[in-house]
Symmetry: C2
Subunit: 152 residues, 2 copies
């Protein structure tokens, strides 16, 4: 009887722990897969310092909300923002969505990001934070419409 | 001819200026009105220091993304976060949505916030920033599900 309770406790602990760390994706698998692919590609583009590819992952009227700046909108402004500073490189970038929910041709997505930058002096700094993204489906492609984040 | 061009220039300038400052609300007027009412009530609750009323404007699994903290979730955590510090008061709070778009029982909303705080020493400080909110319709009521912001 006592052992049974221990087993039950283990089972519930396992389920609880599993649920806490689980990622929630709601929507057609095909759309979820496309968004997850874009999320991974975004990090690759950041690590490659390819500001044109990064800006192209947003809608033409896409908006970013960088800390201590106004809202920046449109491809030209986004390319400028994402262009790495002289001698700077993002050596690591990873985004971990906690939840993606697709509602018709819109989706929201929130989670964590982390990365490492290397400056002109060769020194590396690590950073992490959290974000909310609103995606829009434009001609079968999922593009970022709103992108806001802050540190942890 | 010259005067006509001037007139035309004035007209276009007016239309352009108007469009730049215009707010975009997409969805049933009834839903938009409810969200706008909630936005105004949120500011009133913050100025009243009513952390229970503020927390009640979120879904029961609502999440906030405060700068330099982890994601906070659920009524208890949100009440704790929104409880004013001893001797602190928000003397002014205003939220100005730039766009609200309703998609079925979800809505996204982004814009600007501004406010003024008064500390225990009586000194006042002003602040402003920008935000993205994801709303959910729960039993005919619009509640905040995701709430993220940062300064300007």
């Amino acid at each position: 009887m006592f052992l049974k309770r221990i087993h039950l406790l283990c089972l519930f602990s396992f389920l609880f722990a599993f649920n806490l760390s689980a990622q929630t994706y709601i929507g057609k698998q095909k759309d979820i897969d496309k968004i997850l692919k874009n999320v991974a590609q975004f990090s690759k583009d950041v690590m490659a310092g390819d500001h044109e590819a990064i800006a192209a992952s947003y809608t033409s009227d896409g908006k970013i909300f960088p800390n201590k700046k106004d809202i920046l909108e449109g491809t030209a402004a986004l390319e400028k923002y994402w262009k790495p500073g002289e001698g700077w490189k993002t050596t690591y970038h990873k985004v971990t969505p906690q939840e993606i929910r697709i509602v018709k041709k819109t989706a929201y997505d929130y989670g964590y990001y982390e990365g490492e930058s290397q400056g002109p002096d060769g020194k590396k700094s690590q950073w992490k934070g959290k974000y909310v993204i609103v995606w829009k489906k434009v001609k079968k492609e999922w593009k970022i419409y709103l992108d806001i984040w802050n540190g942890m």
